[in-house]
Symmetry: C2
Subunit: 454 residues, 2 copies
């Protein structure tokens, strides 16, 4: 054995600061706009749903931001996460490539999501918030926020996309175990939800709808704020602990990745592992950084860069992002966390700046990759994570064809123990891929005609 | 912060040998007997269901046994496991006690069970076995063996106790993901199963019945052996990596436990953490070692030390153990892994030798402890594990009353992500405790009247 299979950091070696890419973006970020005025929004516009300290962080240009001590101590419940060499997968592929994965499935919630849920709960607590609302797709984010609110003594209400609520019934129980309440979205608890249910009682729901409900609830309930698990700058900031740890871990074994890959729904686990490497790339380092999405929701690969709402009911500011349109309803693929119509402004800008690249993968291919993973590396990945695995396998196979000793780093964003119905459907041959006609995208985008262009 | 929250071992620091308590037991172990002759069984009697190399290990008196390199490499997929200080639980209790837990929930299967599944699959592979059969209660063991068989290229068939099969549907999917087949027990696939179903079609099943089915299958199918997840000496041997790691980890922070606690169904996670400490105790070290079981299945606290069968259909040798009788049908508590009528001969002997002590806890108290754990330490424990947590909390509270700085070490045997229906029942107030009248025990034991006494 040349190097160990696992590289573990002592908690005292954990990063003490988050990395803020806004300090280094070559062309900056376009500002969010107020939909009524078309002018850049100001802090006051956000104050209805976010606490001041997080709004400051959202727009901060400071390169390194200290992780508060109470957040650090809460992160220690499961961090630093292991960096593991996927030797058995390499052997099964017969590839000369080295595949490393950063295992973010080790958190109590089962994914990378607590990395931002904990600081968000903390900053809200410090600000004086008593209750947080949020949306969740596959349930990873809802669980993470429930867990984090419990840690910092906040109430928590989660609006969960109905299709995932039905597919993953145990997610609700996890949230309840951590003291949160969870309802399927659209729900009867908000005006938005009631209106949508009146028109489409059988709708599978969407992240856009669930966000609208959570925002409406936050605005209308005293001492309540809203927490978002992805898309926003401060979320990407908090997630950078993933990549910063990975850099330390790989340095310990004198390795550096040729390829970094993660799946991207809103962009948070992707940014988590990728942003520290984007910084290296800006400074001249050669590293290929790949974001992968489902073909059923091809935000990065088929959608234009536009100003669009973050939610279906148009209650958020207009965000500069790759978007399929806030009315886009993705097919019911099992990777619920990747069923979002938009993409983080930071990810969108990095695509435009050609600092990263994007790929779209169909779900059958991803499940095949996940099965190979389970049968070699053992751990059952979330359907979202399987997208990153599929790319890593393709890259490892390309390395074999080219006879190259490539080093691949993938973000193993979460385990799939709550997502086994997808595996059941795959194993029984009932799973299908979805074709997405261009007309569906054009139709959803037509609604954006009258809004500003970035 | 005086010491770190987590103590992590590098994989190169992992123990390279298992510890065999048989070399140190002050009064040895009574031998298993052949039920027909009443004489000690010999290796040939076991050869129908176990491979020779494991039979040798079962009776070995060698104190330290090398872990084969391929087993070590497979264990590295998830080991060494973290030793974590439960600071938030300590704070919630306001106790001066230090509570450490050894997190065995980090394995792909979610519990300590792969620690023996991997070597058992390996030794069978080396011996020439092509297929393994087994039983499983809560599903932890079935998942572990499915995962291990996949790693070493064996087929796997799991008979899962029907009540758990129904309560934990996703366990079956995990086993299938790792390529195993899983049926509810009693099943129509064996003569034993068919006979029981004919008499009691609605039976919830039991570990004893499932063992009978798996043994029958192994005996009657070519190149098929049987694997047991607990009770036997070689299983306890393989699990000692837990305690050996814990000793190294605690030594790193100059700590030593005053109390070691683990739950005991068949005895495997208990022996895993406890045996290396029992060795210390034999050598004069002061350490209190506690095994905890459910009041619904009080093998250690209310059952006599007898010779009994390991299974319901009386196909195994007679084992010297604390037993409620092989016909005992425990109440349907959620801790399926603790619903076994007997107890490992090693654990039984240690009780007689007064090297360890036993307690029985009702399930409502254990769920209350589990909820407190979830809301402080975050990770959701398996119902079995909650028993160890409940004892640790009681010991920490006693330390508070006595004003003592006690150090408590508990084996966190597995996570409860596949066991959330129990939490649902608890949170909705539908869970009950079970009374176990002495007559039920007496009735089950009456059947043993004509068998030898130890």
């Amino acid at each position: 054995m040349d190097t160990p299979t696992k590289v573990i950091l002592d908690e005292r070696e954990m990063p003490r600061q988050w990395y803020n890419i806004l300090a280094d973006l070559p062309h900056g970020l376009r500002p969010p706009l107020h939909p009524a005025t078309g002018k850049p929004i100001n802090a006051a516009d956000l104050a209805a749903i976010f606490p001041e300290n997080l709004i400051e962080q959202e727009v901060s240009q400071q390169r390194w931001i200290d992780i508060p001590e109470p957040v650090l101590e809460a992160l220690w419940l499961y961090r630093p996460s292991p960096l593991v060499r996927a030797r058995r997968l390499e052997q099964a592929l017969g590839t000369p490539a080295k595949i490393y994965y950063k295992n973010e499935g080790v958190s109590p919630a089962g994914s990378h999501k607590p990395n931002t849920a904990l600081p968000q709960a903390y900053y809200n607590k410090v600000f004086g918030t008593r209750r947080l609302t949020t949306e969740t797709g596959a349930g990873q984010w809802g669980c993470a926020l429930a867990f984090a609110c419990q840690q910092f003594g906040l109430e928590c209400k989660v609006y969960m996309v109905r299709i995932s609520f039905d597919q993953k019934p145990f997610r609700k129980l996890m949230m309840q175990t951590w003291g949160a309440s969870c309802v399927p979205s659209p729900s009867m608890d908000t005006r938005t939800g009631r209106e949508i249910l009146a028109k489409a009682p059988d709708t599978p729901g969407s992240l856009g709808i669930a966000i609208s409900e959570a925002v409406e609830d936050a605005v209308q309930t005293p001492q309540t704020k809203y927490a978002l698990g992805s898309v926003l700058n401060h979320v990407m900031l908090h997630q950078t602990v993933i990549g910063l740890e990975a850099q330390k871990q790989m340095a310990k074994i004198s390795a550096y990745p040729d390829v970094v890959v993660a799946c991207a729904g809103g962009g948070s686990n992707f940014c988590g592992i990728a942003l520290p490497y984007v910084r290296d790339k800006i400074h001249g380092k050669a590293v290929q950084i790949i974001a992968v999405e489902p073909t059923a929701c091809p935000t990065m690969t088929r959608a234009p860069f536009v100003y669009d709402f973050g939610d279906t009911a148009k209650t958020t500011p207009l965000l500069p992002m790759h978007s399929l349109g806030h009315g886009f309803m993705p097919a019911p693929v099992h990777a619920g966390g990747l069923r979002y119509h938009g993409m983080a402004p930071i990810v969108s800008q990095l695509l435009i700046d050609k600092l990263i690249e994007a790929r779209a993968y169909p779900q059958l291919k991803c499940y095949a990759a996940a099965m190979l993973w389970c049968r070699t590396e053992g751990f059952i990945p979330a359907p979202e994570t399987s997208h990153a695995i599929a790319v890593a396998i393709d890259e490892a196979q390309r390395a074999k064809e080219e006879g190259k000793e490539k080093t691949i780093l993938l973000c193993w964003s979460g385990h799939g123990l709550m997502d086994l119905k997808g595996y059941e459907a795959y194993m029984s041959g009932k799973l299908t891929d979805y074709d997405l006609p261009q007309e569906d995208i054009d139709r959803a985008l037509a609604e954006l005609r009258d809004y500003p262009k970035p």
